[in-house]
């Protein structure tokens, strides 16, 4: 035989004798029996933090012979408390998925992708980065990342080392308005509800039963069981409804009017906490003057919530105070959905201020968070702070500085200020703002690099795609967890890397930095940095590798009026900086931008309990559940369906100014008439994700490209849509 070896792949010491001796016991059946007998010997446990959403709940993975076998929630981790949710269980199988990226990819001139080596990928990206900096300066580069323990650290360090200040989180499509607003009113980006002692809690649009954090669901369930009155203000009876005493169906984006009317009742009926207001707030008089106009009767015309109901809820909250509060919310109405999301969030905190519940037992709590101390190893010193301000800082001055607004980055890519963009664990092109705008922007850039585990819509439009290993295959930096108690958690390497040509976050950024000429700032591994950080709080890295989550020194939380870290040091009903940004400095009413005309519908989006935005839609088991139960359907009220002659399961054409798509309808009594609900996981455009591709429709496709004034959130629900039945 000539021209080709008999064995191209299998090499080794296989001796003829060994081959000849290997006999019947090689059979699959014999091996299975042997495995069943020996399985107990190879069982190991290792901790990690889930990557199914940004909660990063602690988990414990069991492996058998090195293979992932089961997951369970960490008993120690305060978000898990022994449980993880369905999306957490599902996401883990991504480690073995047939649709993972397994080697670096380069897009060719013809638009196809081809595998390339890491060396070539780093070298080519490094060369292009250097060319962009030489021609346009480092400020023409940006990175967008969906925060993960290592990713948020390395993204910022990489950009800053290059000399660019342009580092953005996903927040403008999530909770940017809320976190920015709270920073101005209470001096913190979030707060918690003291469910264990609460008499009444009101949710504004948020649903623990859909955007699941196990401990939150448990707290809510326990509170409901204990008799706490739970109120859900939402145009949809969401999946937390089983815990709710009251469902307040409201016109979408009018929650601000509802909250201002609550304030009106509390002030006009003299039900507010005078002592708290006088001693701990600024701007009350101006606020009260604005709230005076916001009567329940006025609010009824906007919200469609009866004035009597608003009055009853306000009086009940006052009666329960200080063990009553508005829950902090997260995304959507309070986070990024409307022109008034920033003020809606401010108004929610104003209600709590009037109730005097800040820091009180059963009220709204401001707790502290731990962090690593100063590191004495010069390798970890920060690179010089870039001189320029981040793009967007001027246009959207109210945006939380640590998050920025990626909408500004998109605008800069469109108008040519940006020339190169990196994306880490971020499917911006599908999830953040209008996808057509992203496509246009990415097409204009000289360099687009995406780091991900799968070929997302953003990766699909990139010049280079760098495959990260899945979270179970990598160690990451510590995650610091605040609250009444302090904890630190960490991802450890549960599984050996499955695909040899994938790398962990730190390896990828270290390689990029070296190729871009800034390797001097990346002379350490994530494990070395983690060990140094943990040492500052007295935790040995070997301990956390074993335990996953460790409780830190008791911060000695105590009830009582908290310190508000605002400019004034007090709760702010009025903030000058907000006025300087061109908005009303005083918390007051702002109308939503788009109001449906006759024949049009409001549309709202939201998570489902088994999915996390677009990230999990291609997971085989989770996608199968979606298809089994037709979870991609558009929710419509039974009243609307009847008037349009639409039956459950019918296909409709959904249209906005931006897009038209067809989708099946779920007819339900759980929607307020005039409002539609669309789960925000579907309508995938990446043919590389075969299970998710073209399954359902995506809300972002229907939304105009726009930004909330001052903050820069994407205004994810500022649109009106029409529905037409598609005749068979």
């Amino acid at each position: 035989m000539t021209g080709i070896s008999r064995r191209t792949f299998l090499r080794g010491t296989a001796a003829t004798a060994a081959l000849a001796a290997a006999a019947g016991s090689l059979s699959f059946g014999a091996w299975q029996a042997e495995q069943a007998h020996a399985a107990g010997d190879a069982v190991e446990e290792a901790p990690s933090l889930c990557n199914g959403c940004s909660s990063k709940c602690g988990l414990v993975a069991t492996t058998v012979g090195g293979r992932l076998w089961t997951l369970r929630g960490s008993d120690v981790h305060p978000y898990a408390k022994g449980h993880i949710c369905g999306r957490g269980h599902g996401l883990a199988q991504m480690a073995y998925s047939d649709e993972r990226l397994t080697s670096p990819m380069r897009r060719t001139e013809s638009g196809e992708f081809e595998p390339i080596s890491w060396d070539d990928a780093f070298a080519e990206i490094g060369q292009k980065v250097k060319e962009i900096i030489a021609a346009n300066g480092p400020e023409s580069l940006a990175i967008i990342q969906d925060p993960r323990p290592s990713g948020k650290y390395y993204s910022k360090r990489f950009m800053n080392a290059l000399g660019s200040p342009n580092v953005y989180a996903h927040s403008s499509s999530c909770n940017l308005s809320k976190e920015s607003a709270y920073t101005y009113t209470i001096g913190a980006s979030n707060y918690s509800t003291d469910f264990g002692n609460a008499k009444m809690v009101m949710f504004i649009g948020r649903s623990y039963g859909d955007g699941i954090r196990p401990s939150s669901v448990a707290s809510l369930a326990a509170a409901a069981e204990a008799g706490t009155r739970i109120v859900s203000v939402d145009p949809r009876l969401n999946n937390s409804g089983i815990f709710s005493d009251d469902w307040v169906p409201i016109n979408p984006g009018t929650d601000l009017a509802f909250l201002m009317a609550m304030c009106n009742v509390l002030i006009e009926e003299d039900l507010y906490d005078h002592e708290f207001v006088e001693q701990n707030t600024v701007g009350f008089e101006e606020f009260a003057a604005q709230a005076k106009e916001c009567t329940p009767a006025w609010a009824e015309t906007i919200t469609d919530v009866p004035a009597e109901r608003i009055e009853e809820l306000a009086r009940a909250m006052a009666a329960a105070a200080p063990a009553a509060s508005i829950e902090a919310g997260w995304r959507a109405v309070i986070g990024c959905a409307y022109k008034n999301s920033f003020d809606t969030a401010r108004a929610a905190t104003a209600v709590n201020a009037l109730l005097g519940c800040w820091g009180q037992k059963g009220g709204a709590l401001l707790t502290s968070s731990p962090k690593a101390g100063k590191l004495d190893d010069a390798r970890f010193d920060d690179p010089p702070k870039p001189e320029a301000k981040a793009i967007g800082a001027k246009e959207y001055p109210l945006a939380l500085a640590s998050a920025g607004t990626n909408v500004a980055a998109l605008e800069a890519a469109l108008d040519g200020r940006l020339k190169g963009m990196f994306f880490y664990n971020s499917n911006a092109a599908k999830g953040y703002a209008q996808p057509k705008a992203w496509t246009e922007a990415l097409g204009k850039l000289d360099l687009v690099v995406t780091i991900d585990v799968q070929m997302s819509e953003t990766a699909l439009q990139s010049d280079y795609v760098l495959p990260e290993c899945t979270y179970l295959e990598r160690l990451e930096l510590p995650e610091w967890i605040g609250g009444k108690k302090h904890f630190v958690g960490m991802r450890t390497r549960v599984l050996e890397p499955i695909h040899p040509e994938t790398k962990a976050c730190d390896e990828i950024f270290n390689g990029l930095a070296e190729a871009c000429g800034v390797g001097e700032y990346f002379q350490f591994t994530a494990e070395e940095l983690a060990a140094a950080q943990l040492k500052t709080v007295g935790v040995d890295i070997e301990t956390i590798k074993k335990e996953g989550t460790v409780e830190l020194a008791d911060p000695k939380f105590a009830y009582g009026t908290p310190t508000f870290k605002t400019a004034s040091g007090k709760f702010e009903f009025k903030t000058d900086a907000v006025g300087e940004a061109g908005l009303n400095p005083v918390i007051g009413y702002v109308e939503r931008k788009v109001t449906p005309k006759v024949g049009e519908f409001y549309i709202v989006g939201g998570k489902q309990g088994i999915h996390s935005h677009t990230m999990t839609q291609n997971i085989a088991a989770l996608n199968a559940i979606s298809r089994q139960y037709n979870m991609e359907r558009l929710w419509m009220s039974a009243k609307d369906a009847e008037s349009l002659g639409i039956a459950d399961g019918d296909t409709v054409e959904l249209s906005s100014s931006e897009h038209t798509g067809t989708v099946a309808v779920r007819v339900t009594q759980r929607m307020k008439p005039g409002v539609l609900f669309l789960p925000t996981h579907y309508g995938g455009d990446s043919p590389y994700q075969t299970r998710a591709y073209q399954y359902g429709v995506a809300l972002t496709d229907f939304i105009p490209f726009d930004a909330e004034p001052g903050v820069g959130s994407m205004m994810s629900q500022e649109v009106a849509v029409t529905v037409t039945k598609v005749e068979a």
């Binding site: 299998l10 290997a22 091996w31 695909h499």
Partner: protein, 253 residues
């Protein structure tokens, strides 16, 4: 009279076709004497085989490099829209062992099949190349393992591997068929690309059909006629009956 060397050489030339190759390597493979043997094996095994719209023997001849390149990049590369990697674990339930959260799932690497063949490699001192770390049950490796045992005269082991690890070829053939249908309608591709992918997939399917016949020949009771490292050609090369075929290879035909 055919002998074991014939089977081994055919396996060598077929196996490499299931992996990505450089242009130089591909042209070398197509020119080699081994491929001439594969052609001969095709005539012997696939002469009467028909599948809807596909006559494997007619498609067994290696396509041009341009077609091969298209099918390598679109079908034999992981993570692509039309990927269909010939890896056994992807077409079987992940694990039959009790207690696994993921046991019934398909489409996952490193299932029971992979761990079983890895145990065989370990036992006989074989190293799996790093590129195949996630797929020790890749069809190319499985074929070479069978060939190794045949060469060493261990008919029983060759029969065991052939019996245990080729039953997924029918599912793989279905996957390839589906990919070709989808590629033909893909918005991403121009007409030339569509035609190239479809032609390349047809060649892969012919290779799968031939692989199924080879596996069956090796897996036949009585070691399919292997004696002293030689194959009793005529008996082993008789077309198999449908029931026998399904038991070993699944519905490849």
């Amino acid at each position: 009279m055919q002998n074991a060397s014939f089977i081994v050489n055919v396996i060598a030339s077929v196996a490499i076709m299931f992996t990505r190759q450089s242009e130089e390597r591909y042209r070398e493979t197509c020119r080699s004497e081994a491929w001439a043997l594969a052609r001969e094996a095709g005539k012997l095994y696939l002469g009467d085989v028909r599948k809807e719209g596909l006559r494997p023997l007619a498609m067994l001849e290696p396509p041009t490099w341009e077609v091969r390149r298209a099918v390598q990049n679109e079908v034999l590369t992981a993570g692509m829209p039309f990927s269909a990697l010939p890896v056994e674990s992807l077409y079987r339930p992940w694990s039959a062992a009790r207690g696994s959260n993921y046991g019934a799932q398909r489409g996952l690497y490193l299932g029971d099949a992979a761990h079983h063949v890895q145990s065989i490699y370990d036992r006989i001192g074989i190293e799996v190349p790093e590129a195949f770390a996630a797929s020790p049950d890749h069809l190319a490796l499985l074929l070479e393992l069978v060939a190794l045992f045949i060469e060493s005269g261990n008919d029983e082991a060759a029969c065991s591997v052939a019996t245990d690890h080729f039953g997924w070829l029918g599912a793989y053939d279905e996957a390839l068929e589906t990919r070709a249908e989808k590629a033909a309608a893909a918005r991403l591709f121009d007409d030339e690309k569509k035609a190239a992918v479809c032609e390349g997939v047809a060649h892969l399917r012919a290779l799968v059909a031939l692989t199924g016949e080879l596996a069956l020949a090796v897996a036949r009771p009585g070691a399919a006629g292997f004696e002293q490292g030689r194959v009793r050609g005529a008996s082993c090369l008789q077309p198999s009956n449908q029931q026998e075929y399904l038991a070993v290879c699944g519905d490849v035909r």
